[in-house]
Every structure is written in structure tokens, then in C-alpha cells.
């Protein structure tokens, strides 16, 4: 549906986008994740034709949107966008939702029917006559979503749709996004800095950093096989170790990390220099068992001492010194059961398949 080739955008002397190549398929939810200011919004604005790229080509449904004589309005009317800060006009909720249809000269009866159906979709039928500016943030965002959906767009763009909302409103918006995609088959591109949201909603994910699309792929690719240290840090991987492959037997590698041998799955051969990425939830902590008891099949069993414990929502974030720092997430209950504290000696267990091995370019 969307094909961007070499899209760049400069604002003054600042390069906001640096050669974006991106393809979005019909009916998918594609999530752009990246830190604030990385260029996510600019990509969405270019796709919605609110912004012209400095260079590069943008094809919508096979048609070049920038060729001389291209009808921007006709393209834009096949797309809808929900902005981070929903702007509602100082009129009723009904009228706010009807704008897109009025601009398309839809008949009054049809407008009334479609507005009612859009209000029902977002669960705001009871607020149809209210002045939109008096709504809460979550309600306004739902009005913005209904206003976008009432035009039955082929492509829905959403820029940080839950950035300023409470958890309940956020969950409601996320459910709506899924429902719109499933029931209306609408292609959705969503920009967010909330990785968990990206993970929850996306079919595919693109990571944008400093104006470049640095990786795109499935949830598994992005969150478990990040393409470099910067992306790994952004997607929540705290344990990043540098090592050298010392031996590789049929893809089962032995990697030396600060004198500790780690087993992982990779085709990289000795003596490749590598980075190992490990998600904290993949590390299991146990107390050292008396010899001979509780032997497990896990490939990597590392002895270490806890150096830091920090609460992290329902979990505890435990840092262990195993010759290198290793971060694990354990439930509060487990932490209490094991009497974990700074200085406690523990065993960290990691499956060889849980470690992503990334070659360091020579």
C-alpha cells in the first residue's frame, strides 16, 4: 500500500529524516518505535501529505504522490490521521465527527447515520451533543479516532495516540485500534515511543533513530534480535556483553565474556568478536544448591553476587555481577521467597537460545 524510497527531510539545516525506505502492506498494523524527536511524526506527516519530503519518492497504492499533476487532496482523502494532541473544534461532538464527511459533500441523512455508527464504535454515543472542548483527554482522543474512521480510510495514521492518557483510556484506545484493524481491515501505521504498546499492537515494527529507519521486522526480530547496541538498549535489553567466539560446533557457540564461557546459538565462527544481547526476563535466579542437588539442563549457569535491586512495577530488577553485569527481572514474591538482597550469592541461569549474538563489524 505504501512505498517510501530514499525519503529525506530537512528543516533548515537539520536533517530530520535520512533516506527512509519503507513498505507497508495492505491490512497490517505497522508500528514505528523510536525515542522522542527521532522523526516518527515527520514520517507520518509525509505519508499524510501534510509535509513534502526534501527528496525521495512516495508511492501510495502504486501511484507516485509527487508526480506533476498528482491530486494531493484525492490521496489525502483515502488516508486519516489521529494526532498526538487531539485538536477538537469548538462545536459539538457530533459536528466534530461529521467534518470529514461534510468536506466530501456527503448528504445530511448519511452523515447522521455514519456519525452515529462512529460514535458507537468508540463508545461515545451518550456524548453526541456535548461541546467537544469540554471532554476529557481520553474522550477527545476517541472523538479524534471516530472522526478519522467515519471517512472509512484505507490507511489510518496514529501519532502517539495514547501518549497523554491514563492507563484505562490507553487500553480502550488500543482495543479500538485492534478492532478497527480486524473488523474494517484498515491498514494502520502507529508511531509510539512506548515499546510495550508497539509490541502489543504491531504485526511488524520499524525502529527509527536519529532520522534513520535502523531496523524493521517482526516483534521477535526487534525485541529479541536487535540490530545493534542502540536498538537493544531502546527495546529494553540491559544486559549487553562483548565477547569472542572461541568454538562453534554446528551453530552451538562457546563465547568468552570476561573469562566466563557463555553458550549461545549462532553461525558465527571463532574468532568472531560479538555482542550478546539478553532480555532481563530471560534470566532465572536461584540460590546455590548443595552439591549434587537440583542439577538442571540449562546451558548457562553463572555464579554471581547481587549488586543492586530496584523495584520495577510488579517486578524487582536485580543486577548480578557474574564477571560482567547481568540484569534479571524477578517477581516481588520470588524476591521475598529467595530473600534476595545486595551481596546475596546467586546462580543466574540462561538458555542458550535466549541469547542473541550480534557480530561486531570489523
Amino acid at each position: 500500500m505504501i512505498r517510501l524510497r530514499g525519503i529525506t527531510k530537512k528543516f533548515g539545516k537539520t536533517d530530520v529524516l535520512k533516506g527512509i525506505d519503507l513498505e507497508i502492506k495492505d491490512g497490517e498494523i505497522f508500528t514505528l518505535i523510536g525515542p522522542s524527536g527521532s522523526g516518527k511524526t515527520t514520517i507520518l506527516r509525509i505519508i499524510d501529505l501534510l509535509e513534502k519530503p526534501t527528496s525521495g519518492t512516495y508511492f501510495f497504492d502504486g501511484a507516485d504522490t509527487q508526480e506533476p499533476g498528482a491530486d494531493e487532496l484525492a490521496f489525502r482523502r483515502r488516508i486519516a490521521m489521529v494526532f498526538q494532541k487531539p485538536a477538537v473544534l469548538n462545536t459539538t461532538v457530533d459536528e466534530n465527527i461529521a467534518f470529514g464527511l461534510k468536506f466530501r459533500h456527503t448528504g445530511t441523512a448519511e452523515i447522521a447515520k455514519q456519525v452515529a455508527s462512529a460514535l458507537e464504535l468508540v463508545g461515545l454515543s451518550h456524548l453526541s451533543g456535548r461541546r467537544a472542548v469540554t471532554l476529557s483527554g481520553g474522550e477527545m482522543q476517541r472523538v479524534a479516532l471516530a472522526r478519522a474512521m467515519v471517512t472509512t480510510p484505507e490507511l489510518l495514521l496514529m501519532d502517539e495516540p495514547t501518549a497523554n492518557l491514563d492507563p484505562v483510556s490507553s487500553e480502550m484506545i488500543e482495543l479500538l485500534i485492534k478492532r478497527i484493524n480486524t473488523e474494517h481491515k484498515t491498514t494502520i501505521i502507529l508511531a509510539t515511543h512506548d515499546m510495550a504498546q508497539g509490541q502489543r499492537l504491531a504485526d511488524r515494527i520499524g525502529v527509527i533513530m536519529d532520522g534513520g529507519l535502523v531496523q524493521q521486522g517482526t516483534i521477535q526480530d526487534i525485541f529479541f534480535r536487535p540490530n545493534g547496541q542502540k536498538i537493544a538498549r531502546f527495546v529494553g535489553i540491559d544486559s549487553i556483553m562483548t565477547g569472542i567466539v572461541t568454538k562453534n560446533t554446528d551453530g552451538h557457540a562457546f563465547i568468552d565474556v570476561n573469562g566466563v564461557c557463555i553458550e549461545a546459538i549462532t553461525p558465527l565462527q571463532s574468532p568472531a568478536r560479538v555482542e550478546l544481547y539478553l532480555r532481563p526476563e530471560e534470566v532465572t535466579i536461584s540460590l546455590p544448591a548443595p552439591s549434587g542437588q537440583g542439577v538442571k539442563s540449562t546451558r548457562n549457569r553463572l555464579s554471581g553476587t547481587i549488586t543492586k535491586i530496584l523495584p520495577n512495577g510488579p517486578f524487582m530488577r536485580v543486577t548480578i555481577d557474574c564477571g560482567f553485569p547481568l540484569v534479571a527481572l524477578v517477581t516481588r514474591l520470588s524476591s521475598e521467597d529467595l530473600h534476595l538482597a545486595v551481596g546475596t550469592a546467586v546462580i543466574a541461569e540462561i538458555k542458550a537460545t535466549a541469547i542473541h549474538v550480534h557480530a561486531i563489524p570489523s
Partner: protein
């Protein structure tokens, strides 16, 4: 003190009994100032939209000039228009000098800067995201601009009413372009100046009270409209 009190009493009497001369002057004032306000609004609102929605070199300088003209002395505008519409002026053939139409032209020119400047400010006060939202919803450029002007309607209405206030209360243009001809071009402000000079205080007070009443009605209407529709 008793002169003032008796002047007030006689003034109220003139108003209550609908004195024909007082009424004629008041109605002519309203006709001229309303007409000038409508003309100025028809020019200022679209022009303000053009200035707001387009970026061009010298925009900031233009806005500064417009704001400076808020306080241009009415006699200067009167002089300028006089030079244009006097018999020897470029628009002399229109025969507008000493006519209500000439006064309408003068007041229109007088209030355009304040109305235009305030319209630009009003449009600037509309949330910047509204424009993107409207375009994203499939608005043509015209539909977008129209909706944004609609969004700023209360601030624009205030600009129009301020313009009307400046028009109905000015003396310079009315005196120089109208000539204060009884029954023809005499309006509230010029009549007050003349009657005061002649020592007819009750008549002046009556006209002054009517001017104040007009201002009061306008302000009350504005407040009612704003309260009814504003959030």
C-alpha cells in the same frame, strides 16, 4: 450643579419623548457606523485570513504598520479622505464629500487597521493543530480556512465590535467629510460638539446618553453571544 441636573432631566425628556431631531441624528449615526463596520468586516476578515495563512517577506513589518495604524488620529484619516474625494481629488467625480456615503468611506478606512490587526491576532490564537486536523480530514484549502475563521468567530466578533465602537465614537472624519450639515450629515459626535459650543447642554447630554446606551447594548449583546456559545 443644578444646571447639570436640569440638563440631565431635559435630556431624558428629549429621549423619552423621541424628539425627532435627536432620533434623526441617532439613526443616521447608527446607519453610517453600521455600514462602515460591515464594509470594514467584509474587507478585514478575508484579508486577515490571507495574511495569517500565508508566509511572505515583510509580514512582520506589515503587522507592525497595521498595529501602528490602530491609533491613527481620526482627523488625519479625515484629511486623507478629504483630499481624495474633494472636487479636485482623484475620486472627486463620485461627489462623496459632505454626504453620509463619504462618511461611511472615511469610517471604513479608519477602522480597517484595528479590525484587520485583531482578526490576524484572533486567527493566530486558534490551535495550530486544527489546520493539520482539517487538512487531514480531507478539507480543501478554502474549507480549511473557512473552518478556522469559524473557530475564531468570537474573537473576530470582538474585533468587529471594537471597530464599530471606534467608528461611532469618532469626530474627526464625521466633521471633515460630513461637514455636520443638519438633517444631512450631522451625527451624534459632531452634534454634541456643536451643541456644546452653542451652550445647549441638555441636547448634548441627551446625545451623549444615547451614545453610551449604544455602547452598552453592543457590549451586552457581545457578552450574551459569547456566554451562549463559548465553552
Amino acid at each position: 450643579m443644578s444646571d447639570i441636573a436640569s440638563g440631565f432631566a431635559q435630556a431624558v425628556n428629549l429621549i423619552v419623548t423621541l424628539n425627532p431631531e435627536v432620533m434623526q441624528i441617532a439613526l443616521l449615526s447608527l446607519y453610517i457606523s453600521f455600514s462602515a463596520t460591515i464594509l470594514a468586516a467584509c474587507i478585514s476578515i478575508p484579508l486577515g485570513g490571507l495574511i495569517h495563512f500565508h508566509e511572505f517577506h515583510g509580514k512582520a513589518a506589515l503587522l507592525t504598520i497595521i498595529q501602528t495604524l490602530y491609533s491613527v488620529p481620526t482627523v488625519v484619516v479625515g484629511l486623507l479622505i478629504y483630499l481624495f474625494i474633494s472636487r479636485s481629488g482623484p475620486l472627486g467625480f463620485l461627489g462623496l464629500l459632505f454626504t453620509p456615503e463619504g462618511m461611511i468611506l472615511g469610517q471604513t478606512v479608519l477602522i480597517i487597521p484595528i479590525m484587520l490587526g485583531l482578526v490576524v491576532t484572533a486567527l493566530g490564537g486558534v490551535d495550530k493543530n486544527i489546520r493539520d486536523t482539517l487538512l487531514s480530514l480531507g478539507a480543501t484549502e478554502f474549507q480549511g480556512i473557512f473552518q478556522i475563521i469559524r473557530e475564531a468567530r468570537f474573537a473576530i466578533l470582538s474585533a468587529v465590535i471594537l471597530g464599530f465602537g471606534r467608528a461611532i465614537s469618532e469626530v474627526g472624519v464625521a466633521m471633515m467629510i460630513g461637514g455636520n450639515i443638519a438633517g444631512e450629515t450631522r451625527v451624534l459626535t459632531t452634534a454634541i460638539a456643536l451643541q456644546t459650543g452653542m451652550g445647549d447642554f441638555p441636547f448634548s447630554i441627551a446625545l451623549g446618553l444615547i451614545l453610551l446606551a449604544i455602547a452598552l447594548v453592543v457590549v451586552v449583546c457581545l457578552n450574551l453571544v459569547t456566554r451562549r456559545y463559548a465553552a
